[in-house]
């Protein structure tokens, strides 16, 4: 394989991986957002967490700061007082007359001849029976030979330069009462790590000559250790507190949310038609009262629905009875009218015209009555299917043949787009033909003489027939209303082909009876398209349609305009909610 191709492949792979990652991340974010939006409990716990973290952080910082301040302040104060006491001792010792009488004796046992040595022994505990002090001392007098001392390992190099300069400035101004403090990380000789040390520098006024600089080095290790322990404790306790609060919030929210969730589920079941759904009532609290109210509401609702159902039943029965009762007199009237119509040539023109009119209206009345009877059969649930495996193309051709006469009257032509292979499906031949006839009549009536396109499509699961006209089209929202009984787009328009206003409603019922969809698309000025989708096997669930609801040319125009998403038109009834492709 040439390298460029490999590279391209690899690049594509990388892009794909990135895309996959992005997609996954987006999906995860979406899932989280969905979970957040849907769960009251999650919202409560998250809010509690955020608020408690904020509170704990603020409190922790405040506490830590306060403890820091008090510990450091107290150690500084005690260090300052110890340093002061030592300076007083040094000053007192240095102001004494040196003891010239000191005789040489055993070293280590006699008192030192130099008062500075004696006082340093006392201060540092390096004399006999002395105990180790927690701090080190440096006495510095650079102007006199042999007048500088240090305890332990401190040396003049360890004094922070700023502190030394400050003291020297004070010495120049002869100010001896303002000791200076400096905290620094000092690395003493022989040590690998620097230590946090509080250095207090003070001056001891001289009797003559230069002053003594006295530096005290207080280690702050213990304080630092203690403060870090305290900080750790605060962090641990804070963390525990946040977790505890989250747990409490979770429990409390659960107590409230669980009944609410039960109520929601009950409401959903109620909405799904299970009218005997009720909530359990426990206790007397607000949630119990909610449950009681819900139950009352459900009871009342069920009662009302029952009443309405009864009423509706009565009405349907009334329509059915009326239709039946009208048939007998209508038959008689029809027979009489037929006689009159047949003999119309013998009548005067006026009477002949009346006979014709009566004949036409009687035909319409009859078909309306037939439709009414048909629809009342649906309402009564008495409609049944008479299934046969049929090639849908034949059905379409038959329906077109039936509509030819009307089409000619409207000077409308049919454009047929049929697949070459047979489109077999288990359908009730009569009903499907009626649907198609209805659709074709509709298209002719509203097609304003333009071509009507009839398309048949099929895939593995379903067959579809789309009937497209180029008439005035439908306004937004009318796609579902067209299937309502006796609905008319423009009430002022006359019914030229004698439609009863029930045709599309019956067609819809027929399609539904097959487990199929009947859907409409329309746009003002663009015409209308009706699509009938039927499963190949009766009763099988439809997953999609072989044909697009939106006509292909419209779709293409939209794509050109950069609008990728086709308008989805939900069909009313059971067709709603299906995703359309």
């Amino acid at each position: 394989m040439p390298p460029t191709t490999t590279k391209a492949l690899r690049r594509r792979t990388l892009r794909q991986i990135l895309g996959g990652v992005r997609r996954r991340a987006r999906r995860a974010v979406g899932a989280v957002r969905r979970a957040w939006r849907r769960s009251l409990q999650l919202q409560v716990v998250t809010s509690t967490l955020v608020i408690s973290v904020t509170v704990v952080v603020v409190l922790g910082v405040f506490l830590s700061d306060q403890i820091n301040k008090s510990v450091i302040a107290s150690s500084q104060a005690s260090a300052a007082s110890e340093a002061f006491a030592d300076r007083v001792q040094i000053a007192a010792a240095l102001s004494q007359e040196p003891d010239d009488q000191a005789k040489p004796a055993d070293p280590g046992k006699s008192a030192p001849a130099d008062p500075l040595d004696a006082v340093m022994n006392t201060i540092t505990g390096s004399g006999e029976n002395g105990s180790k002090k927690r701090y080190e001392v440096l006495v510095l007098n650079a102007a006199a030979p042999g007048a500088s001392r240090a305890s332990g390992k401190v040396s003049p190099r360890d004094v922070p330069p700023a502190l030394r300069q400050g003291l020297q400035r004070q010495a120049k101004n002869a100010r001896y009462d303002k000791p200076l403090r400096h905290q620094a990380l000092i690395r003493f000789s022989g040590e690998t790590q620097p230590r946090l040390t509080l250095v207090i520098g003070g001056l001891v006024p001289p009797d003559a000559g230069a002053s003594y600089e006295v530096y005290h080095f207080f280690p702050l290790n213990d304080e630092e250790q203690m403060l870090s322990n305290v900080r750790l404790a605060i962090v641990v306790v804070g963390f525990g507190l946040v977790l505890l609060l989250a747990a409490i919030a979770y429990l409390v929210a659960r107590q409230v949310v669980t009944p609410v969730r039960l109520a929601r589920q009950a409401a959903e079941r109620l909405a799904a038609g299970k009218l005997d759904e009720r909530l359990k009532v426990r206790g007397e609290d607000d949630l119990a009262r909610l449950a009681t109210s819900f139950n009352e509401m459900a009871g009342n609702l069920a009662l009302k629905i029952h009443q309405l159902e009864e009423l509706s039943q009565v009405q349907r029965q009334f329509v059915s009875d009326v239709s039946h009762e009208l048939r007998t007199p209508l038959t008689t009237v029809r027979m009489a009218a037929d006689l009159l119509y047949d003999a119309r040539e013998d009548f005067e023109p006026m009477a002949a015209r009346s006979a014709e009119l009566m004949q036409a209206q009687l035909e319409r009345f009859e078909s309306m009555l037939a439709d009414l009877l048909e629809i009342s059969r649906y309402d009564a649930g008495a409609a049944t299917l008479d299934l046969d495996p049929v090639d849908v193309r034949d059905v379409v051709l038959r329906a077109i043949a039936d509509s030819e006469a009307l089409a000619e009257r409207h000077s409308t032509r049919f454009e047929l787009r049929l697949p070459n292979e047979p489109c077999m499906a288990e359908i009730d031949n009569r009903r499907v033909e009626r649907i198609l006839r209805n659709l074709l009549f509709n298209a002719i009536e509203h097609g304003e003489g333009r071509d009507v396109v009839v398309t048949v499509g099929a895939d593995r699961d379903a067959v579809a027939v789309a009937v497209r006209d180029h008439g005035i089209g439908l306004k937004a929202g009318e796609e579902t209303m067209v299937f309502d009984r006796f609905w008319r787009a423009d009430p002022s328009r006359a019914r030229t082909i004698g439609g009863t206003g029930l045709g599309l409603a019956i067609s819809r019922e027929d399609a539904t009876l097959h487990g199929g969809w009947l859907q409409a698309w329309g746009q003002p000025g663009e015409g209308t398209q009706f699509r009938l989708t039927l499963p190949r096997t009766a009763g099988a669930d439809l997953k999609g349609s072989p044909l697009s609801l939106v006509p292909p040319e419209i779709e293409m125009r939209r794509t050109w305009r950069g609008q990728m998403t086709p308008v989805l038109l939900p069909a009313s009834g059971d067709g709603a909610g299906h995703e359309e492709v």
Binding site: P104, P107, N121, K133, R149, K153, S155
Partner: protein
Amino acid sequence: MRRSRRLAAALAVAVTAWAGSGCAVIPVGGPFPVDEAGGGDPMSKPFQRMIAVTPDPAWAPLQVVQGLQAAMAAYADDPGVLSTYLTPATAKTWKPDGPVTVIANRPKYDYVGKSDGNQVVIRLVGTPVARIEADDTYMPYSAAVGDISVDFTLVKDEGGAYRVQSVERGAGLLLTMDDVARAYRPTKLYYLAGPPGPSRLFSERRLVVDRVWLRIKPAENFAQTIVRRLLEGPSKALHGAVGSVFPQGMSVRSVRSDDDRVVVDLHGPIAPDELYTDGLKAQLKWTLNNNDMANGRTIEVQLDGEPFYSSDPLVIRADDMREDWLGSNVSPAYYVSRGSVRSLGDDRAGNAVQGPAGQPNDLYRDLSMSDGGAMIAALGTDVAGGGIWVTRVAPDGRWQRWIQGDRNDLTAPSWHRDGTLWTYDKANGAVLRCDPASGRGPERVAAPGLDGLAVTKLRISRDGVRVAVTVGKNEVRVGAITGGGGTPMLGNFQTLITVSDEEIEDIAWRDGERLLVLVRGKNAQSVREIYVGDGQSTELPATNKRLQLISALGQRLLAATEHGKEILEFNQDKQGWVSKVSGDADNPIFSLG
């Protein structure tokens, strides 16, 4: 319902408990067991040190010399400053080698000639106190030595400041006693008795103290300094006379305090499996404990930071090594009454010992008792025909002459703890040693340090390592028995004390490191207790009775008076002499020493 009520009760109890304990800042109550914190960090003792400052250009020559002396005191801690006092040429050549000379505090500085000009000479005059040798031995100067003077020649440099061009006396450092007190600590090192060599180490379960003066190093703890010095081996005075389990090339990585134990981390060519472990334990235990470093805590020895034996640590517990490696300081006392050796009870005269030594006679004097009191040796009087006589303390004992010689030619016999008897033959100028185990007669022991000296007394110390001799009537020297392999010799002799206008009457070992010297002046007598390691001396309160002989063991010190024929004991509490036996009592004896 019941559950919630129980929950509420538990909550109430918890709240009450919290409120009860939480309201008090420091809760009261107890007793609770306390965790021992482990005594802090005694690995280093507090100390102060001289900080040397660079010379100020405005200083007078006298101040420059004083500053130089201060810089000498700080030289070991901060060697850089000293050279700033010297002219560049001198700084290049000057090296502070050799012993440190210790002088008394406040030496006198005087101008020799003019006090300004391009060249100034300043003379330092001070009383010499001691010398600290390179092997850390502290050698006190005798009081007889006069003041020392050192001339410092200073010249002006280009900037007009004085710098030291030469120091007349040489290169050694000059420290005052205060400088030494600040920077040095007397330290006891413990070595194993007997000449070095693995064959001897196992038999001699005994320690010998070597007293040295160690300089405190600011950057390391003092315990580490001590152990490092211990590993270097004994000082000159004990060289060849004592051994150490630590081979050459050992070093100490650290000595640290770890909770309740002291951890000594060693490095070097030591073979743990072939090691004389008891010796190592003893050396480290006594060295660290007797310098207030371990203070009875457990000591763990590590090798390169790992357990001493690859899997097990070497631990020296406080209750380990109970046997007395320093020798017993409790032993019955005896005295001689009309030639009969009698025990000396706490408050009364006791019975005569068994055998011929308990019989009254006038044949023997200057008696000496062997380790454990089984044998008694004495110098025969003229009646007995001189020589050194020995008898067992038993009913069937018999006086036998072990060494021939004139009474006046032999010094009083001294027992070694290995059972040999030692004396000095003045006529032949030889040290004689009699080993009954060998069955041979007296043998001469080489003692090159005593050649040509008038040795009047010879005493072997109780640890069997040191030898004290009096030379004439004015000097005490201390040496050691060196040389292994069955041919001992005496060496390493150094003067311990020299007296002028006084006479040394008697010497007696108190223990391994302290020698008592009875000195008689013109008008008074004194008993001086001297540490043989560094010559530190304490004078015990005197008595108006004239003392002739002394004998000591541990805390007990007995003396025989000259005229009253009385045994006195020194009472430590009252710091005075108390009569123990009066009337015909002479020659107090403790075994050995």
